[in-house]
């Protein structure tokens, strides 16, 4: 039997808080982080609400302890802040002491900053420090800056599978551990809001001008968000040897492809169904063992039908409590899988189920509706966390209370 993979640390920053505890307090207070952007230069700024981190890039640099922030993009700084918290919470003082993998996820890398100077780069007449941002045009730049800053160098890479990116990063890190290549991997993703992405989703007519309403009959699209989240994964034996505090177990995972359409899920949610089914089977748990599903729930017309049908088909009349936390954070794309994995761990450790905000009316295509109340003292042992993306990419994770 392959070794268990434990979650021994986590760190995050999102529209509802600059660390895990602040995020938890906002979830519990049912306080959304959605609003109009302060920092993105776009004509949609006062029209399309977003889940923006409530700090300027200069403030983020200060929080991350970076004195000379030349070349550090907002994406990198968000990631660095989450990474520093993750390592601290795992009790890791010197990450370089143990060969550690860093599996990051990003959809557009440093675009948040490079899009501001892109046409200056193309102008041979213009010179300046902005040229140092050229390397940030890709997704690897943020990863390597975080790796170099923290000493995570055993395996360093970046995954980009659209909205399922960081769920895939967690899976890949867990598999490197199970294969015995490393004993520890820090996995997650970082994403900053950009004019590029806002216009991309807007051109797809996928953004709601209101606060997003996952699983509501009147939903009309998503709100984009930004943030970063990392989870420290360790093999059980290594965690025990160093007397780490296990927060939860990453007990199951599955990545499937729908092979249906470049940007739309299938109406019956075939990919979502398979991803959840196989992830639960891998975890050794049964369908009845799942108390909560943190759904992808973007509030786009297609996603919620597809994911809802997958839930109904898989769980029949016994669909567990489910909710989308995207009305709190917005859809943070490459960071979403890791942010929601942390919300899943919090659900287990605090015995709470997070409410699906902004829900009024059940979808006519579905028999089920999301949990709209904050459930406290609610026993949660196993959570399924879903992340689905463009290109038909579906990822489900099963996160379990350690020792059960």
């Amino acid at each position: 039997m392959a070794e268990r993979v434990l979650i021994t640390g986590m760190g995050m920053i999102s529209a509802i808080g600059n660390n895990v505890e602040e995020n938890f307090r906002s979830l519990r207070a049912q306080r959304s982080g959605i609003g109009y952007s302060q920092y993105v230069d776009t004509i949609h700024r006062d029209v399309l609400p977003v889940g923006e981190v409530k700090c300027s890039t200069a403030e983020l640099a200060e929080m991350a302890g970076i004195t000379d922030a030349t070349g550090f993009t907002r994406t990198t700084l968000l990631g660095l802040i989450a990474m520093q918290e993750a390592l601290l919470s795992a009790g890791i003082r010197d990450a370089a002491e143990t060969p550690t993998a860093f599996i990051n996820a990003s959809t557009v890398g440093g675009m948040c900053d490079t899009e501001k100077i892109y046409f200056d780069i193309l102008d041979p007449e213009k010179e300046g420090t902005f040229l140092q941002l050229i390397d940030a045009l890709d997704c690897a730049d943020c990863t390597q800056r975080i790796a170099d800053h923290t000493g995570l160098t055993a395996y360093v890479t970046t995954i980009s599978t659209a909205c399922s990116s960081s769920a895939n990063a967690l899976m890949y890190g867990a598999r490197l551990i199970r294969a015995g290549l490393v004993q520890r991997a820090v996995c997650g993703g970082t994403e900053a809001l950009t004019r590029f992405t806002i216009n991309g989703f807007n051109s797809l007519k996928n953004i709601d001008k209101r606060h997003c309403m996952p699983f509501d009959n009147d939903r009309n699209g998503l709100n984009l968000g930004e943030g970063a989240a990392y989870l420290v994964l360790e093999s059980e034996s290594f965690a025990q040897r160093r007397k780490a505090r296990p927060m939860a177990e990453l007990s199951g995972w599955c990545n499937t492809n729908e092979a249906f359409h470049p940007t739309s899920p299938s109406p019956e949610g075939d990919g979502a169904f398979e991803a959840m089914r196989k992830a639960i089977a891998m975890s050794g748990r049964t369908l009845e063992d799942v108390q909560y599903i943190n759904v992808h729930g973007t509030a786009t017309l297609n996603n919620d039908v597809s994911e809802g049908r997958a839930l109904e088909r898989l769980f029949g009349d016994n669909v567990p409590s489910f909710s989308s936390t995207k009305p709190f954070t917005g859809h943070t794309l490459a960071a979403a899988g890791a942010i929601e994995a942390i919300f899943s761990v919090l659900s287990i450790n605090r015995q709470m189920i997070w409410p699906n905000l902004n829900f009024n009316a059940r979808m006519e295509e579905l028999r089920i509706s999301p949990e709209t109340r904050l459930l406290e003292e609610s026993p949660v042992l196993n959570v399924v966390s879903n992340s689905f993306g463009f290109g038909g990419n579906n990822a489900s994770l099963v996160i379990s209370k350690y020792g059960y």
Binding site: T153, A179, G391
Partner: protein, 340 residues
């Protein structure tokens, strides 16, 4: 590795005539800039005409080389699709950036945005071949194709997949070539591929390409013995790691009869190749594959393809691929042929 992995087929679109016919690498003449352009094949027979019109260049190259790789071994549905790309579809990213500016963020066509998504080629392959299994895309410079390869090996070792379609692809646009010239990626004077290794100047020649492999458990003429990646090693760490890697693989340096080397004539990073070569006997034959494909994030895939072709020819038995990308991401891959 507990389960042996073999290269069951491959297909390469590159600056060379690699997609069709017998492979005879040529030192190409360059006239305008330090860029070796990929030779695009005829796409009819691979992609339906109505899809072809919409698709951008990298998507066409990626999908077509993937399909040809599957055709070469009469396979239709691999057990997983795992790829690497450093830049994705640059043409689409650039188009969307320009469109945002030109049309002032209004009435934008979403197609370039969708196609600029790094996993769009993977999604297309899955869609066209109806492959619903594991699908992943790595986007990390010289660790893009390389992690796709490691992920593929893991899929096979885990017993999840019997075969994996593994690829690496990148394109270079004129615009991006200019951008990278501003931070010293390319040689400043027009340099011919024939002169790139001896030019004694900084920078290199850009390239592009799309290379796919079907890696699986069914024995074939080329075995993928193992691989190792190193992030920003010192020269000492590189030497030690290469020796250790060969020991782990049970291969003496003298047994390696071919070094496929990523040496690209950039004087800033040549010393890494010097160091690696010192671990091997001086008699080892060397192929410097970037003379034929140029430098790009996923050039390592073309290097592995070159090594595979050499082993298939029977000229060599044991090939070591060593590549690094601008001195940061370093990779060894060991391949063994059964032809003699």
């Amino acid at each position: 590795m507990d389960i042996k992995c073999y290269i069951q087929s491959s297909a390469a679109i590159s600056p060379q005539q690699s997609f069709t016919g017998d492979y005879i690498p040529q030192l190409l003449p360059l006239t305008e800039r330090n860029l070796m352009r990929a030779v695009e094949p005829a796409y009819t027979g691979f992609i339906p005409p109505n899809s072809l019109r919409r698709m951008s260049r990298l998507l066409k190259m990626g999908l077509t080389s993937a399909l040809q790789c599957l055709r070469n071994c009469n396979s239709a549905v691999p057990g997983a699709i795992i790829t690497g790309t450093g830049r994705g579809s640059l043409q689409d990213t650039e188009k969307f950036l320009h469109d945002i500016r030109t049309y002032e963020e209004t009435a934008l066509n979403p197609t370039p945005f969708i196609q600029s998504t790094y996993n769009s080629v993977n999604g297309l392959i899955a869609l066209q071949q109806q492959c619903t299994d594991y699908n992943n895309t790595f986007v990390h410079r010289g660790f893009s194709f390389e992690h796709a390869l490691l992920d593929s090996i893991l899929q096979i070792q885990e017993g999840v997949a019997e075969s994996v379609l593994t690829g690496g692809f990148d394109e270079m646009t004129v615009e991006h070539h200019y951008i990278k010239s501003r931070i010293g990626y390319w040689k400043t004077e027009l340099t011919q591929p024939a002169d790139m290794l001896g030019s004694d100047t900084q920078g290199t020649i850009a390239g592009e390409g799309s290379v796919f492999f079907l890696i699986g458990t069914a024995p074939s003429a080329v075995e993928l013995k193992g691989m190792q990646m190193l992030y920003k090693p010192t020269p000492e760490q590189l030497t030690a790691s290469l020796s250790q890697f060969l020991t782990q693989q049970g291969v003496a340096p003298e047994e390696i009869d071919l070094l496929v080397s990523g040496r690209n004539g950039d004087t800033r990073f040549d010393h890494y190749y010097d160091v690696a070569e010192k671990v091997l006997p001086s008699s080892v034959e060397k192929i410097h594959f970037k003379q034929y494909c140029g430098e790009y994030d996923t050039a390592g895939a073309f290097g592995m393809w070159t090594a595979t072709q050499e082993l298939l020819s029977g000229r060599h038995k044991t090939a070591l691929l060593y590549n690094n990308f601008y001195g940061e991401q370093h990779t060894f891959v060991l391949l063994q042929g059964s032809k003699s």
